[in-house]
């Protein structure tokens, strides 16, 4: 098996999915917890318009920081996100082909689909599917969307989210993410280690709780105001900012158990309004044209 570098893995996936008719879009420039938050997934999975996309999305999970001490866990990592709508019958086999295209021998190794009903309470999103295990390493989340932004979906999308680092660890046969080859001999750690350590310190020890509490309020207010003005994209970007502020507060343990649920509900209600506004505008456009 050729040892693909991190960048080569992304290139191969881009190529593979482009051949499947996926539009390659660029990563979102706002902090998000997963590729699902990208408008190319969140908005585009709504309604009954066909859509196929694939993209890389840097993802932040402040509580997962381990000061670069854990070989698998990081507060900043990369997801490779694919959305295929509607989901074709052979989607599972297409996915397995994508692994083969990376040089992974599925006969020599073991692929397992393990039940995992995915849910994003902040996005009001929910789906059924699996974690995909490669020799017990979780490399992908495979989901049939049932609901987004609290809206039951008529046309079901299939979302495939690869953990690129984990795939690369397998391909390059490395035990530690920071030892991965990024490109041309440069290591993942060379690019990310200091970033990871400093952000872990920030997330757990240094972030300004008061400031983030206030920011949350600001972002929420702004999102709400923009929703009333029917500016759905700007409104949504502030929902994402609020969500990230919440995640940072959560990492600092600044939010009690009951409050936590209430914060999530506040974000969800905004996300839901965004989804509804997006849909009504899309339907409005369809009827006037």
């Amino acid at each position: 098996m050729k040892r693909l570098s991190f960048v080569e893995v992304v290139e191969r996936l881009n190529k593979f999915w482009a051949k499947q008719g996926c539009t390659t879009v660029m990563p979102l420039d706002t902090e998000v917890g997963a590729g699902t938050f990208h408008p190319a997934t969140f908005f585009k999975s709504l309604g009954n318009e066909k859509w196929r996309t694939a993209y890389i999305q840097p993802s932040r999970r402040p509580t997962d920081g381990r000061y670069a001490d854990n070989p698998l866990r990081m507060q900043y990592y990369y997801q490779y996100q694919v959305l295929v709508k509607p989901s074709p019958r052979e989607i599972k086999n297409i996915y397995l082909d994508s692994l083969k295209s990376l040089g992974i021998d599925l006969d020599l190794h073991e692929i397992r689909f393990v039940e995992d009903d995915w849910e994003s309470p902040t996005l009001g999103a929910q789906g059924l599917g699996w974690e995909v295990w490669l020799d017990s390493l979780e490399i992908t989340q495979f989901t049939y969307f049932q609901q987004i932004g609290g809206i039951e979906l008529d046309m079901v999308s299939c979302e495939i989210t690869y953990g690129i680092e984990r795939l690369c660890m397998f391909i390059q046969n490395k035990n530690n993410v920071f030892d991965l080859e990024w490109q041309n001999g440069l290591k993942y750690g060379d690019l990310h280690k200091r970033h990871e350590i400093e952000h872990s310190k920030y997330n757990f020890d240094e972030s300004n709780i008061d400031m983030h509490l206030k920011m949350f309020e600001f972002f929420e207010k702004e999102a709400s105001a923009l929703l009333s003005k029917k500016l759905v994209y700007p409104a949504y970007s502030f929902v994402l900012k609020a969500s990230h502020a919440f995640n940072l507060l959560d990492a600092r343990g600044a939010i009690g158990q009951s409050e936590r649920a209430r914060y999530i509900a506040r974000i969800r209600s905004l996300a839901k309004r965004c989804a509804e506004l997006y849909l009504s505008a899309a339907q409005g456009a369809a009827t006037t044209s």
Partner: protein
């Protein structure tokens, strides 16, 4: 009768199902298919079902190719309408024959409860089984329940996971059925039984055979490793539905992780990676056993990958463990104030105070000694502290267990540690109970506090859903009390819990206690299962004196004597006195007044009662319910019989009537109030 038969086979190929779905689903599917065949009058022979993670199969031998013929009667107009005075058929009768499609010669006359009617005998057509299967099989597939279903295409068809294909064979015939857009698999020239044999040969589709095969592999390796020959059955069943053809290997992790608590190591392996821990004389070792799908695989590579992943997870656990034990365990107490138990019910710190109060109350009721009491108090105090630890944040299933570990590490006694560890037990019907008395009392207190809190703030328990775990809590509570033989008046404990909640509860407190007591009775009824006669349960649960151990005890005694003569006699006494009291108005009946007696039999009956009363009380106090029943029958059966034969209870004279009713009431209650309300039984026949 149709004797021509063929074998039936239904095969559903589906994308990987959740591990616990296939087995109960095919079992229900089979039952439903059989039920339908019977309802449709289609004969059948033996049945067989099989399943794995992506295959569901039901096979039925010797299915008749046609329904059995049946004839039924269709009633027409009454005879006096069907014939005129001269005895000729009327227009109505001819019309009836016409609409039924029969000749007038075929009309017959029959006597019914309402008089004579004309009727026709009609043969129902025996439809071909094929046609019926095409109609009913898709409906049955749709209606057999999965815990969660999904949609995956525009048809809106729901199943647990996307269905890849369907096959329905009757003999060699492929029957087309429609279920959403699911494609039909085609098999040509093979009968259902040959097809079944073919797939049986290809892999272990029988879930029991497969499970045995996996178990055998594991036990073999355990023997080789000189390890304890124990296999986690729950994990085994999960793995049974992750792998179709098993293959085994042994992996290892670094010994430095062995300083983690055993339960953390076990959870990391079994819950998160689905591999089997290896124990030697009860101690955990750094080996594990993995079952994977058979194939020509890179075993060394796979093993290395499994080991690396496990070690990364254990490294995380070690990080949590070291962080959690940096400061004394007790210091977490402050944080409990900001940890919400439930929105309306306040924080965990308040819950701890209630647990202390309630467990103290139970200790006093059980007259436990000071040592036990103070252990339980201490355990209650520390019981929820682990909820703020990183380890429980990561492994929620280790709540309690980690609390016990951390308590021990910070110098608490073994007894206190164990009580904390055990207080969430049992987790389900088949789970183990707390081993110690301390753990049991704490577990009871915690459960009562949960049930009272949730029901006290209006949580609905009517549905089959149990989101707050009320059913699980209640059943666990009953199991602990019964199995540990704790003589408690549960109604008193509930009352105490309601008081401890103070003003937090939102529903009427008086009704709440009754509601919970009723709910506990309902769950007891469920846990008791089958007894004969079935009404015994209601008869015993009707008793006001509410002690769970005593209830189970009575059930045992009564179901062993229910076929005895003295039992039916006692029941008859209760039934007869009860029947005569039905006519009386509520509150009308007072005390028995001897001075109003007119008949000798009244005096005699009263004397029998006075004799019996102290005896009865004595027997009941000593919980000798069999003797109490025998004595009651002996004392009253015959004399009461005579009494009813010779004395008129419901006489004109009100004072006399009420006095006699009062006597019936007294005799009735002597038994029904403290032994069993046998009036709940169906009508008694004394042989």
């Amino acid at each position: 009768m149709n004797t021509a038969t063929k074998d039936f086979l239904l095969e559903i190929n589906v994308e990987t199902l959740p591990v616990l779905y296939p087995r109960p689903w095919v079992e229900t599917l089979q039952k439903e298919l059989i039920k339908e065949l019977e309802a449709q009058r289609i004969g059948y022979g033996g049945t067989y079902s099989a399943c794995n993670k992506n295959l569901l199969i039901c096979y039925i031998k010797g299915v008749s190719l046609h329904q059995d013929e049946i004839s039924r009667e269709v009633l027409g107009p009454p005879k006096h309408v069907a014939f005129d005075k001269e005895g000729n058929l009327t227009k109505q009768a001819c019309g009836f024959a016409k609409t039924q499609g029969v000749k007038i010669e075929d009309l017959k006359i029959k006597k019914t409860a309402k008089g004579e009617y004309i009727y026709v005998e009609k043969k129902e057509k025996a439809r071909p089984t094929k046609d019926i299967l095409r109609d009913v099989v898709p409906e049955i597939i749709k209606n057999v329940h999965f815990p969660k279903t999904m949609r995956w295409d525009s048809s809106g068809f729901r199943f647990a996971r996307p269905v890849e294909s369907l096959l329905l064979l009757l003999g060699k015939d492929n029957l087309r059925i429609k279920a959403g857009n699911v494609p039909q698999k085609k098999v040509s020239g093979v009968t259902a039984s040959v097809y079944l044999k073919k797939i049986q040969k290809a892999s272990l589709i029988d879930p029991d055979e497969r499970k045995d095969a996996i178990k055998k592999l594991i036990l073999g390796k355990l023997g080789f490793l000189k390890a304890d020959p124990q296999v986690d059955e729950a994990l085994l069943e999960e793995v049974n539905f992750m792998v179709n053809s098993p293959q085994i290997f042994v992996g290892q992790f670094d010994k430095r992780f062995l300083r983690l608590p055993k339960d953390v190591l076990i959870a990391s392996m079994s819950k998160y990676q689905r591999v089997f821990p290896v124990l030697q004389k009860g101690h955990i070792t750094n080996n594990f056993i993995a079952i994977i799908e058979k194939g020509k695989r890179d075993m060394a590579g796979i093993r290395k990958n499994y080991e690396n992943i496990l070690e990364a997870r254990l490294k995380d656990s070690l990080f949590f463990f070291d962080e959690d034990t940096k400061k004394p365990f007790k210091e977490n107490a402050e944080q409990l104030k900001s940890l919400i138990f439930q929105k309306k019910l306040g924080n965990m710190s308040e819950k701890i105070e209630r647990l202390k109060g309630l467990s103290r109350f139970i200790c006093e009721k059980l007259a436990l000694d000071e040592g036990l009491k103070s252990n339980i108090q201490r355990a209650a105090e520390l019981s929820k502290l682990d909820l703020i630890t990183l380890m429980v944040g990561e492994f929620p299933s280790l709540q309690g267990v980690m609390g016990g570990e951390y308590a021990l590490k910070s110098g608490e006694s073994k007894e206190v540690s164990q009580a904390i560890k055990e207080h969430y037990l049992p987790q389900g019907m088949d789970d183990k109970l707390p081993g110690s008395l301390e753990g049991s009392i704490l577990a009871i207190s915690d459960r009562i506090d949960n049930v009272v809190g949730f029901l006290g703030t209006g949580v609905d328990i009517s549905g089959s859903f149990d989101p707050f775990g009320i059913r699980r809590n209640t059943q666990g509570l009953i199991q602990i009390i019964e199995k540990k033989a704790l003589r408690l008046r549960i109604d008193e404990v509930i009352q105490k819990s309601i008081e401890l909640y103070n003003d937090k509860l939102t529903v009427d407190r008086g009704q709440l206690k009754d509601k919970i007591v009723d709910y506990i009775k309902e769950r007891i009824e469920y846990l008791i299962g089958d007894v004969r006669p079935i009404e015994l349960k209601a008869a015993i649960l009707e008793i006001k004196y509410f002690d769970i151990v005593d209830i189970f005890n009575r059930i045992k005694i009564f179901s062993s004597i229910s076929d005895k003569k003295f039992f039916s006699e006692a029941a008859k006494i209760v039934e007869r006195t009860n029947n005569i009291l039905k006519a009386a108005r509520k509150g009308e009946i007072g005390k028995v007044d001897k001075n109003l007696f007119e008949e000798t039999l009244e005096h005699e009956l009263w004397k029998a009662y006075l004799n019996m009363r102290p005896k009865m009380q004595d027997l009941v106090n000593n919980e000798k319910y069999e003797e109490a029943t025998r004595e009651y029958a002996k004392a009253f059966y015959k004399i009461l019989h005579d009494f009813f034969d010779h004395v008129m209870v419901n006489t004109e004279k009100a004072s006399l009537r009420l006095n006699r009713l009062a006597m019936m009431d007294t005799i009735n209650r002597l038994y029904t109030e403290r032994v069993a309300d046998l009036a709940k039984l169906p009508q008694i026949i004394v042989k």
